[in-house]
C-alpha cells in the first residue's frame, strides 16, 4: 500500500515538473514577444529606417510592385460586404508582391487599438477611427510616420484639405485617405418634396415651411447612437459653421482657437436649434431616436417630415430601416447660408496608418493610394474614391457618382470638425448636442462648459 502511494507521488511529481517546464517555456516565449509595459512602440518592429521600402514611392502615380513576400496584418472597420470589397481591392497586390494580407474587421477600432497599444499586440496596418486619435497615438510613439509616401503626388491626387488632415503637428504624414464620404447632404422623399434644389438656406426654409401641412414638420432628426449619442447633431453644427461663418472660423474652431461661446459658434447652435424646433417629434423624440431610424417618418404616409440631413452612407438605412427603394429618394447638398462662403462642403474619410514599419506594410500603403487599387472597390459599389484619377464613369450608381463629383468640384472641402478635435473635445461636443436639443435655453452654460473642455483638451 505504502509502496503504491509513493509510486503515485513520484508519478505526480514527474507530471508536475513537466507542467512547470511547459509553463516556463511558454512564458519564456511570451516575454520574447513585444512587451508593451510602457507606451513605447512594440519591439517586434524592425528598425524601420533600415528596412528596405517595399514599393517605390509612387503615391497614387505609377506603382512598382516589388516581390517582398511575407505577410501583413491589417485591422479595419469593414466587415461583411465591405470586407469582401477590401479583400478584392488588395488581391492584385497580394499577387504581385507575393505577400499575404491577414485582414480582421472590427466594429470598434478605437477600443481595439487602444488596448492593442497598451498590450503591444498591434496590426502592421490599421484603419484609424479619426485624425484626433491618430495624433494621440503618434505622440505615444505607437503610430509610425509614413515618410516613404511621396506626399506631393498624393496631395495633388486628393481633394483639397484631405492630405494635410493626415499629418501630425510636427508635419509627419501619419494617415492616408482612400475612401471618402460627403457629408451635409439633404435627403428627401421624391413623393413629398417639390422644392427642387434650393440655392440658399433661406430659400430652403421658406419653401419647406410653406409646404408642410398639419402635423408635418420640416426636418427629421435623431441623434441617439449609444455611447456616441449626439454625433448627428455635431454634423449639423459643423455644416452650419462652415456655411455661416466660413472656412477660416471653421479651421480656427477645429484647432481650438475659436471659443465655443464666440458669436459665430453660438449662432451656428442657434441655427441648428431653429431646425430642431421645426423637427418631427419634439426634443424628447430627437434625443431618444437612433440616427438610423431618424428618417423613417419621411417615408411614412402621411409623411412626418420633408427633409433629412445626413452623410452619404445613410441611404442603406433608408432601404433597411424605412423600407424605401432606390429611386424613392434623392438629395441635394446643403445650400449656402452666407453667399460669401459659397461652395464649401464637409467631408469625412477612412484613414489608414501603420503601427509596424515593415516592407510589406510600406508597399501595401503605397498600393492603396493608387487609382488602380481604389477603382476596384469603386466598381463594386459603396466607395467614393479619394483619388481624382479614378474616372467618374466607373461609379456604378448615380448617388455615388454625384457624391464623387461634388467632392471633386467643391471650392473648399473641410474634414469633419469633431473628428479632427481631440477626443475629449469630440466627446464633450456629442454630449453638448444631446443637452442642447433637450434644453435649447441652456445654450450659454452648455457652450461655456465646452470652452472649459477646450481649454483643457488641447493642452496635451
Amino acid at each position: 500500500m505504502a509502496n503504491r502511494t509513493s509510486r503515485w507521488v513520484r508519478l505526480w511529481a514527474l507530471l508536475a515538473v513537466a507542467a512547470i517546464a511547459v509553463a516556463a517555456c511558454s512564458s519564456g516565449g511570451e516575454s520574447a514577444a513585444p512587451g508593451g509595459e510602457s507606451a513605447a512602440p512594440p519591439a517586434s518592429a524592425p528598425a524601420g529606417e533600415s528596412a528596405a521600402p517595399g514599393g517605390s514611392p509612387a503615391a497614387g502615380g505609377e506603382f512598382n510592385c516589388e516581390n517582398v513576400g511575407g505577410e501583413v496584418s491589417v485591422v479595419g472597420s469593414w466587415t461583411g460586404a465591405e470586407q469582401d470589397s477590401f479583400l478584392a481591392m488588395v488581391a492584385p497586390w497580394e499577387e504581385c508582391s507575393g505577400a499575404t494580407v491577414n485582414y480582421t474587421g472590427s466594429r470598434d477600432l478605437a477600443a481595439q487599438l487602444t488596448t492593442g497599444i497598451a498590450s503591444g499586440t498591434l496590426p502592421d496596418v490599421a484603419g484609424l477611427p479619426g485624425p484626433g486619435l491618430m495624433k494621440e497615438w503618434y505622440d505615444q510613439g505607437a503610430l509610425k510616420p509614413l515618410s516613404f509616401v511621396d506626399f506631393a503626388t498624393y496631395e495633388a491626387n486628393t481633394p483639397p484639405g484631405f492630405a494635410a488632415a493626415g499629418k501630425a503637428s510636427d508635419g509627419q504624414l501619419l494617415g492616408i485617405f482612400t475612401k471618402a464620404a460627403v457629408k451635409g447632404l439633404i435627403y428627401y422623399n421624391k413623393a413629398n418634396w417639390q422644392g427642387g434644389d434650393p440655392a440658399t438656406w433661406e430659400e430652403l426654409n421658406t419653401t419647406a415651411r410653406g409646404a408642410v401641412s398639419g402635423d408635418q414638420k420640416q426636418w427629421c432628426i435623431g441623434v441617439e447612437s449609444g455611447a456616441a449619442s449626439g454625433w448627428p447633431g455635431t454634423d449639423w453644427v459643423e455644416d452650419i459653421v462652415l456655411r455661416q461663418a466660413g472656412p477660416d472660423v471653421y479651421d480656427a474652431w477645429v484647432a481650438g482657437e475659436q471659443k465655443w461661446t464666440s458669436p459665430e459658434i453660438k449662432a451656428a447652435f442657434e441655427t441648428f436649434g431653429d431646425a430642431v424646433a421645426n423637427a418631427f417629434g419634439g426634443s424628447n423624440y430627437i434625443v431618444t431616436t437612433n440616427f438610423g431610424r431618424a428618417a423613417n417618418p419621411m417615408f411614412e404616409d402621411p409623411a412626418g417630415c420633408l427633409l433629412h440631413h445626413q452623410a452619404s452612407f445613410i441611404t442603406d438605412f433608408f432601404k433597411n430601416e424605412a423600407g424605401a427603394q432606390d429611386g424613392d429618394f434623392d438629395f441635394f447638398v446643403m445650400p449656402d447660408i452666407n453667399p460669401e462662403f459659397s461652395g464649401a462642403i464637409t467631408t469625412a474619410g477612412d484613414l489608414f496608418g501603420m503601427f509596424n514599419d515593415t516592407p510589406q506594410a510600406q508597399s501595401l500603403i503605397n498600393y492603396l493610394l493608387t487609382a488602380e487599387a481604389q477603382q476596384i472597390w469603386v466598381e463594386r459599389g459603396g466607395f467614393i474614391s479619394m483619388n481624382k484619377n479614378v474616372p467618374a464613369d466607373v461609379y456604378p450608381d448615380d448617388t455615388s457618382r454625384r457624391s464623387a463629383e461634388i467632392l471633386a468640384g467643391a471650392s473648399s472641402a473641410k474634414f469633419d470638425a469633431s473628428d479632427l478635435m481631440p477626443n475629449a473635445m469630440n466627446q464633450a461636443f456629442f454630449e453638448a448636442i444631446v443637452a442642447f436639443v433637450q434644453n435649447p435655453g441652456d445654450i450659454d452654460s452648455i457652450l461655456s462648459n465646452l470652452d472649459n473642455v477646450q481649454a483643457d483638451a488641447y493642452g496635451g
Partner: protein, 324 residues
C-alpha cells in the same frame, strides 16, 4: 512551437485546463517535499506560509500592485511622467459633470439598498405565508441570472418612447395618456435607472432574508402570539431585530453595488441627461478622453468611498463568526 500551440485556441484551452491543475497539485507535492526536509517544529511553522504563498502572490500581482499603481498614477499628469500633486483630485471636485456624477451616486447609494432590502424583506415575509412559496420566489429570483448589460438593454425597450416598442408607453397609450421619455426627464430618470438595479438585486436580498426568516424558531413566535402580540408587533419586535444582522450584510453589499454601478448607466444613457455616475465617468475619462491620471483619481475616490462600507461588512462577518 509554443506560439503555434497558443495560436490554436482549442489546444491552448485544453493546455490550460490540464496544465493548471497539474501545476497546482505539483506545487503542493513540491511544498510537502521541501517541508519534509525540515525538522517537525520548523516544518509546522513554514508549512502554512508555503501553502498560502500562491494565493499571496496572486493577490499581490492582481490586487495590491494595481491598487498602489493606481494611487501613484492619480498624482501624475496625463502622460504619467510628472507628479502634479492633487491636481487631478482638484479637477474632480470642481467640474460640473463629475459633481453631478457624484450626486447621482449618492442617490444610488441611498435608494438602491433601501428599495432592494425593503422590497426583498416584504416579499420574503409575505411569501413565507403562501402556498406557492417556491414558485413566487423563483419568479422574483429569476432576473439574478441576467447580466447588468442585458438588463440595461431589456429596460431600454421597456422605457422606449415609441409606444409600439416601449412597454411602459404602450400601457400609457392604452389608457389614453401621452407617452413619456422616461430616461430623459430629469431628475426622475435616475430613479428609472435605479429600478433596473432593484429588479436585478431584489431576488438576491429576498433569498437570503427568506433563509434568515426560516432560522427564527417558531416557538419564539408562538410564545409572542400567546402573550397577545399582534402580527405587526411580532414582526416589529421579534422578527425584524433577529433579521437585523442579515439586513446589515445585504445592505452593505448593495451599497457597494450602488457605488460601483456602471453597466446599467453605460448601456442605457451613457451618462447623458444628467445620469452619469462615478464609474462611468472613470471609464470615459480613460477610454474616450485619454486621461489616465484623472481616471486613476476617480478610481481612488471610488475606492476610498467603498473602504468604510467594506470595513463595516467585514466587522459584521467577524461578529457572526465569533457568535458561532
Amino acid at each position: 512551437m509554443f506560439d503555434a500551440i497558443l495560436e490554436n485556441r482549442l489546444l491552448a484551452a485544453i493546455l490550460v485546463v490540464i496544465a493548471v491543475p497539474i501545476v497546482l497539485v505539483g506545487y503542493i507535492y513540491l511544498v510537502e517535499f521541501v517541508v519534509g526536509l525540515f525538522r517537525r517544529t520548523t516544518a509546522g511553522r513554514i508549512r502554512p506560509w508555503l501553502w498560502l504563498a500562491p494565493a499571496l502572490v496572486f493577490l499581490g500581482v492582481f490586487l495590491v500592485y494595481p491598487t498602489i499603481a493606481t494611487v501613484i498614477r492619480s498624482f501624475q499628469n496625463r502622460r504619467g511622467d510628472q507628479f502634479v500633486g492633487l491636481e487631478n483630485y482638484q479637477w474632480f471636485f470642481t467640474q460640473n459633470d463629475t459633481l453631478i456624477a457624484l450626486r447621482n451616486n449618492v442617490i444610488w447609494v441611498i435608494f438602491l439598498p433601501l428599495l432592494v432590502v425593503g422590497i426583498g424583506l416584504l416579499v420574503a415575509v409575505l411569501v413565507d405565508r403562501v402556498r406557492f412559496e417556491g414558485a413566487a420566489k423563483t419568479v422574483i429570483f429569476l432576473p439574478m441570472a441576467i447580466s447588468f448589460v442585458a438588463a440595461g438593454v431589456i429596460w431600454r425597450f421597456m422605457y422606449e418612447l415609441d409606444p409600439k416598442v416601449g412597454t411602459l408607453n404602450a400601457t400609457l397609450n392604452a389608457v389614453g395618456a401621452e407617452p413619456r421619455a422616461w430616461l430623459v426627464e430629469q431628475p426622475q430618470n435616475n430613479f428609472f435607472l435605479i429600478i433596473v438595479g432593484v429588479w436585478l438585486l431584489t431576488g438576491f436580498a429576498m433569498v437570503i432574508l427568506s433563509a434568515g426568516l426560516k432560522g427564527i424558531s417558531t416557538e419564539l413566535l408562538e410564545a409572542a402570539r400567546v402573550d397577545g402580540a399582534n402580527e405587526w408587533q411580532v414582526f416589529r419586535r421579534i422578527v425584524f431585530p433577529l433579521l437585523l444582522p442579515t439586513i446589515a450584510v445585504i445592505g452593505t453589499t448593495i451599497i457597494i453595488y450602488a457605488l460601483k454601478t456602471f453597466d446599467v448607466v453605460y448601456t442605457m444613457t451613457n451618462g447623458n441627461f444628467n445620469t452619469d455616475v462615478i464609474a462611468n465617468s472613470m471609464y470615459q475619462m480613460l477610454f474616450n478622453n485619454g486621461q489616465p491620471g484623472r481616471s486613476a483619481a476617480i478610481a481612488v475616490i471610488l475606492f476610498v468611498a467603498i473602504v468604510p462600507v467594506m470595513i463595516v461588512n467585514i466587522r459584521r462577518f467577524q461578529e457572526q463568526e465569533a457568535v458561532r
